[in-house]
């Protein structure tokens, strides 16, 4: 696809919240344009009645009618963005049902979001970028095999990772905490090059992802600079060898979490949460620090404990930590406390994010936190399923980048195929 991606907006409240401009700006930043499906009053009455969900707000009725017009093909769009006010229960029900309805009845990529007046175009950018990538770059995302010699760099909020792949095999990796974005990237690239035994000028294509993707991408002259939602999905199904059929990818990161449903390696719906640190890898880092162990020891420690023995009164990173400290003071074992911390993060992700995507098995956990087996265990308990953690799951973003970048070797592109 060339030209602007046309994103149909189904919404209630963005103008009166003062955020419509932010939505438009986020779309413009990824060469997309928002539009509001043109619909008649008669169609609104008809479509709303036929859909069967009772809503009292006329703008939600309008959103329902527009969704139906999109699914039935009366309106052309490349993608759908559903947005309603945060804290509106009626809107939350409509938002979820419309997302599910569009996902199940059309090929349109869809993302839903609940905003406040504080929502900025920056907050929406990654979601909008992923939405337009799915619409625009299906040919690129269809790639299943890595070819040639490529480098992928994931510049995350907590850690920077690099992977070098040659002919569908990982031959070098690097991992460092993110301090100065470009310097950390240089360090991990040097580590990966050393392990792989190759020089940087031998690399045929470079891809970058993560929070620092633009800066690092420019620094390394990357051919692919891509948000982490699509890249991680691709990396997850590639490493888990689940490139065909459905899957759900969960990535609990240092600063935000992602839950993505995938079909044949291409993301369908996704949520990205970043409001609460208590639901992030940071909380587990703080717990490990309080227990006096390295983060790598927290998972095995949690597996020996029982989360039910420690009452957690809050999901908050501050008050949740207080609950853990109180439990230790009351005689709880470090193992039980470690398990309770893992349970707390898993529960919060389950309650706040996984309710917004339709879980399809296999569930694949990726990212650094997927190495904390206590967290994986608690998530599996909550979802009542065995969670798949692929090998090298901490390098998921870098692998996804190296895989996709191989489509750009020698100046050609998968997209031109």
């Amino acid at each position: 696809m060339t030209g602007k991606v046309r994103v149909a907006q189904l919404s209630c409240g963005p103008e009166h919240s003062g955020v419509q401009k932010e939505i438009n700006d986020a779309a413009a930043a990824v060469d997309a344009e928002m539009f509001f499906p043109d619909i008649t009053l008669a169609d609104i009455r008809k479509n709303y009645d036929e859909f069967g969900l009772e809503a009292r707000s006329p703008d939600l009725k309008l959103a329902i009618a527009r969704a139906k017009a999109l699914v039935e093909g009366h309106v052309d769009a490349d993608a759908v963005f559903i947005a309603t006010c945060f804290r509106c229960a009626e809107a939350a029900i409509v938002r979820n049902e419309l997302r599910r309805y569009i996902h199940e009845n059309s090929d349109l990529p869809v993302v839903s979001y609940s905003f406040t007046e504080r929502t900025t175009s920056g907050t929406l950018l990654t979601r909008m970028e992923a939405l337009t990538t799915i619409a625009r770059r299906r040919a690129l995302l269809a790639r299943e095999v890595q070819e040639g010699l490529t480098l992928g760099v994931d510049s995350g909020s907590s850690t920077t990772k690099a992977v070098i792949m040659r002919d569908n095999e990982i031959i070098g990796t690097g991992w460092r905490p993110t301090i100065k974005v470009n310097e950390s990237a240089d360090e991990v690239v040097a580590l990966a090059l050393e392990e792989a035994g190759v020089a940087i000028d031998e690399i045929e294509a470079i891809g970058t992802t993560g929070y620092g993707r633009f800066l690092v991408g420019e620094h390394l002259n990357a051919v692919l600079i891509q948000e982490e939602l699509t890249v991680n999905s691709k990396g997850a199904v590639y490493l888990a060898d689940r490139q065909h059929g459905p899957a759900t990818v969960i990535d609990i990161g240092g600063m935000d979490n992602k839950a993505i449903t995938v079909q044949d390696g291409i993301p369908g719906t996704f949520t990205m949460g970043g409001i609460c640190a208590g639901a992030s890898g940071r909380f587990l880092e703080m717990t490990a620090k309080r227990l006096g162990v390295d983060i790598t020891e927290l998972g095995p420690m949690a597996m020996k404990g029982d989360s039910k023995h420690v009452p957690m009164n809050s999901y908050c990173i501050v008050f949740g930590t207080q609950s853990l400290v109180n439990a230790l003071a009351a005689g709880s074992t470090p193992e039980d406390v470690a398990a309770a911390a893992c349970r707390s993060v898993a529960e919060q992700v389950f309650e706040q994010q996984l309710q917004e995507v339709d879980i399809k098995e296999p569930v694949i956990m990726v990212g650094g936190t997927s190495l904390i087996e206590g967290l994986v265990h608690e998530m599996g308990e909550l979802l009542q399923t065995d969670i798949l953690v692929p090998p090298q799951s901490q390098y998921i973003g870098s692998v996804g980048c190296a895989l996709l970048a191989s489509g750009f070797r020698g100046g050609r592109s998968d997209e031109s195929v």
């Binding site: 409240g13 103008e15 919240s17 003062g18 509001f36 043109d38 009053l41 809503a55 006329p58 703008d59």
Partner: protein, 149 residues
């Protein structure tokens, strides 16, 4: 001349009737066209900013959705200014339509608590009801004229 708050605030017909009987309509008269191409039914004519929902905190607490507070930033001052009100319940989309049901509940509550003359009617569904509907509005508005004179 009495300042009459109208609900739905977007109703062009209601606004016109109030003006025709010599009063000042307080609302956001907006033509609801047969085709809806805007984000919502009552899309504001001017760009609102994130400051508007903050101004709406005067009428609704911070836990109330931002869309409600943004609307209240526009409608709250009109409710405070009103000397009378006409409220039409269950109106057809084409008569005038406000996008958010929660805002509508709050607007009606605040206007009912103003202790000013209020005419509350249900939107007519037949010609006979329509005649009675217009007659009731006319009598109410004429009565306001007598009170203010």
């Amino acid at each position: 001349m009495v300042k009459v708050f109208i609900y739905p605030t977007t109703s062009l017909i209601l606004s016109d009737m109030v003006e025709r009987w010599g009063h000042k309509p307080l609302g956001a008269a907006l033509q609801i066209r047969e085709r809806i191409q805007t984000p919502g039914f009552d899309s504001p004519p001017l760009q609102m900013t994130p400051e508007d929902p903050k101004r709406g905190l005067r009428y609704a607490a911070v836990e109330v959705p931002s869309g409600v507070r943004g609307r209240m930033a526009l409608l709250g001052p009109l409710i405070e200014e009103a000397e009378a009100a006409i409220v039409i319940n269950d109106a057809d989309f084409s008569f005038g339509c406000m996008g958010c049901a929660r805002t509508n509940e709050l607007v009606k509550l605040l206007i009912r608590h103003r202790n000013i003359p209020i005419l509350e009617l249900t939107y007519p569904r037949s010609e006979e009801e329509g005649v009675a509907f217009v007659g009731a509005i006319k009598r109410f508005l004429k009565g306001l004229g007598e009170v203010s004179a």
